[in-house]
């Protein structure tokens, strides 16, 4: 494998529950190549969401608990500002519960990622970003839903808005945390089709955590997480990497 896009090196993460330390990740190593679709399969509580949060720079590993490297650069060496910029530009999150801002319309929920990324420069790029956000929502089949608020959308539609938001700043990798976990089978399949098409059409790397084996089968590679460790990996398709 060439220089990996994203790399977890002996990642450890412990949460303190009262006076008890609960290790969630017990030393996780894996790599994601550019354009690769990796599924991390695991039961609830196995630590897969925590792994995703660490890889997305939302959380930090334990002290001496390994590191996450993005194109070779350690996230632990980054300042808060650099980590914010990493989340703005390099990664896009898709969550199980969509996590849309309820006061904003579908279009505004997508645009807000552009506002965070461009700050005061957003004003100059407003039209360009607006067109791009509209285009992404149209591509997700939401052309008629631009002005709808999340409460007026179905679960599948909300998740597609969340995917559009994660793509606005053209990140190199999408981190999807149980993206279909809250959807029925049909809606879940549609979401997965969207993710797969993004991966295939734009060669965007996708890391998806799921407990659904059937969904995990759609990825290039499946990693199984059991009790905070990756138990092994299996390639499901020829990724060419």
């Amino acid at each position: 494998m060439d220089t990996p896009l994203l790399e977890a090196c002996a990642l450890k993460k412990t949460y303190r529950m009262g006076r008890v330390d609960t290790p969630v990740l017990r030393g996780v190593d894996f790599q994601v190549a550019p354009g690769e679709f990796v599924a991390i399969l695991g039961a609830s509580g196995s630590g897969k969401s925590t792994l995703l949060h660490l890889m997305g720079g939302l959380d930090r590993p334990d002290k001496n608990g390994g590191d996450v490297l993005y194109t070779g650069a350690a996230l632990s060496g980054m300042s808060h500002g650099a980590l914010d910029a990493y989340r703005r530009r390099e990664v896009g999150f898709v969550f199980q519960f969509y996590h849309l801002l309820p006061e904003l319309s579908a279009l505004e929920n997508v645009l807000v990622a552009g506002m965070a990324a461009h700050g005061r420069g957003f004003r100059a790029k407003r039209q360009e970003l607006r067109e791009r956000a509209s285009g992404l929502l149209e591509r997700m089949g939401l052309a008629e839903r631009l002005t709808h608020r999340p409460s007026q959308l179905s679960g599948g539609e909300r998740q597609r808005v969340a995917i559009a938001r994660s793509l606005l700043n053209e990140p190199a990798v999408l981190l999807a945390d149980e993206p279909t976990g809250n959807l029925d089978r049909t809606a879940g399949e549609a979401i997965l089709d969207s993710l797969q098409s993004l991966h295939e059409d734009e060669s965007r790397a996708v890391v998806m955590v799921t407990h659904d084996e059937a969904l995990a089968e759609r990825a290039d590679r499946v990693l199984r997480m059991i009790d905070g460790r990756l138990a092994g990996s299996a390639e499901t398709a020829d990724t060419g990497v």
Binding site: D59, R87, V112, A113, A116, R120, F122
Partner: protein, 505 residues
């Protein structure tokens, strides 16, 4: 950028922030109204006092200041002084046409000279007017059909004798005196037939000897030429103006012949050879006196400067007349008091009391306004808790801690600005209409609630002007209070762990 969008949406979709805005608005309006009324009261007190009393005064009660006409000429030659006039202040009793007797403050004035120092003529109420005042659409104000001679009589303080038509001295009384002229809600007065015009009142005063001992009661009946209205209730309810020369006669302060100390009462033979009383040997004139000389400063000269200039003039006046060896020299400067109008007895304590009361009331209301800070704080604290997931979402898309803090601070600033602006507008409307509001409260409570009692607050109307500097300070204070209330919640939001925030239920 997202801060502006979310601030707008939070403002329009939540009721609780509107409560914070309401709190800021009410506190801002409350403080501004209180400051405007108290500050306006003080400003009106100062302005009216200066108008009524001149800028500076040379006072010598009881014995008075002789040769005051020469002093006035010297004072008016002084560049810092615009005009000067002599007055006599004395207590008196006024018997009214209905037989009632009031204790009054009698002031003897030379109408023309007094007007040059105090704008006295402008305070005369009974003057013809062409157009009714704003609150008199039905043209009920008697001044619309008033005989113009009443104003001339008031200005000259003379009325023609009904029998001889010769001018005779007349008095001008305060319009609230015994409430003979009744103030109407619209702001005009209706006189009772028995009082004005064509009424007479008997004034009694007590002349004192140079030793301050009462000589006898002196009473005279005067026609009432006009009434004055300064808006300063204390004056309008107690003061009676009498022509200076008349009051000098009544108080034995007019010019008199000085007799030889060696004169003894006896009988001599007259030129016709019959017995006659021996004439006293005249040795000079005891000049007319006044108890105070009021001084009006020239434009741009402060009362303090006018006082200092008046003191210098008085000193040279005393030196010169002393040197001339006048039979009755003026008292040395140690025996007179040269004061600004604010330093006059009664006025200085009143002004200081009002200044202290204003500061005290403002401080109390500022403390009460601190509740707005706590209200904004608790509302924002609850808002940050409610919006925990939003904070996690924003952090997940790369919003910085500073950006999240600014979201809530900006929200606080917006609530503060809108609250303070609407509070300022509300205060302006209240202050502008404070007298009608006061009258309305009086009407709906059947007169039981009287917030502004002229007998307590000196003025018949509640002062109604908003000082722009005060308004800016209060409005900025409203914004600062709101930001202070939002500060800790904003810091809490910024420090929130994004993962915990996303998992918040």
């Amino acid at each position: 950028m997202y801060q502006g969008l979310l601030t707008r949406r939070y403002l329009t979709s939540k009721i609780t922030p509107l409560l914070a805005m309401l709190a800021v608005m009410l506190c801002t309006a409350m403080v501004l109204v209180v400051w405007s009324v108290m500050g306006g009261f003080l400003a009106m007190l100062l302005g009216t006092g200066r108008t009524l009393l001149g800028d500076a005064t040379i006072i010598r009660p009881v014995n008075g200041i002789p040769h005051y006409q020469e002093l006035i000429l010297r004072l008016e030659d002084e560049p810092a002084i615009d005009a000067a006039t002599g007055i006599i202040d004395a207590p008196g009793l006024l018997k009214l046409p209905d037989g009632s007797i009031l204790t009054v403050q009698v002031t003897g004035i030379d109408p023309a000279g007094f007007d040059r120092v105090t704008d006295f003529a402008d305070t005369l109420w009974w003057r013809p007017i062409d157009e009714p005042i704003a609150k008199d659409p039905e043209r009920l104000d008697p001044r619309l059909d008033l005989d113009p001679r009443h104003l001339a009589h008031g200005e000259r303080m003379e009325e023609p004798d009904p029998e001889t038509n010769d001018p005779r001295p007349a008095i001008v009384t305060g319009i609230e005196l015994a409430q003979y002229s009744q103030r109407q809600p619209g702001g005009w007065y209706t006189p009772r037939w028995m009082f004005f015009p064509n009424a007479e009142a008997t004034l009694s005063v007590l002349p004192l000897s140079n030793e301050g001992v009462a000589i006898d009661v002196e009473a005279r009946t005067f026609p009432i030429a006009n009434e004055f209205q300064t808006g300063f209730y204390e004056f309008d309810a107690n003061k009676v103006f009498v022509p200076l020369a008349t009051l000098q006669e009544m108080l034995s302060m007019d010019a008199a012949t000085l007799v030889d100390d060696g004169y003894s009462f006896g009988v001599t033979t007259g030129s016709d050879g019959k017995p006659a009383f021996a004439e006293p040997g005249a040795v000079g004139i005891d000049p007319a006196r006044v108890t105070a000389v009021l001084v009006r400063a020239r434009e741009g000269v402060t009362p303090d400067e006018a006082r200092d200039a008046a003191a210098v003039v008085y000193q040279s006046f005393y030196d010169d007349l002393e040197q001339e060896g006048r039979a009755v020299p003026p008292p040395p400067i140690e025996l007179v008091r040269v004061l600004t109008w604010k330093e006059r007895p009664g006025v200085s304590t009143l002004v200081a009391a009002v200044e202290k009361e204003t500061a005290l009331v403002l401080t109390l209301f500022m403390f009460i306004s601190l509740t707005a800070v706590f209200l904004v704080f608790s509302i924002f604290w609850a808002l940050v808790n409610e919006k925990t997931k939003d904070i996690g979402i924003l952090r997940s898309i790369g919003a910085s801690r500073r950006g999240v803090a600014w979201l809530f601070l900006r929200y606080g600033v917006t609530i503060g600005v809108i609250g303070a602006a609407t509070g300022g507008a509300l205060a302006y409307l209240i202050v502008l209409n404070i007298n009608p509001i006061h009258e309305w409260i009086g009407q709906i409570t059947g007169g039981r609630v009287v917030i502004w009692d002229p007998a307590v607050y000196y003025f018949t109307e509640i002062p109604s002007s908003v000082n722009s500097t005060h308004a800016v300070i209060v409005l900025c204070g409203g914004v600062v209070f709101s930001v202070c209330g939002a500060l800790l919640p904003a810091i809490k939001a910024a420090r929130m762990d994004p993962v915990r925030a996303l998992r918040f239920e």
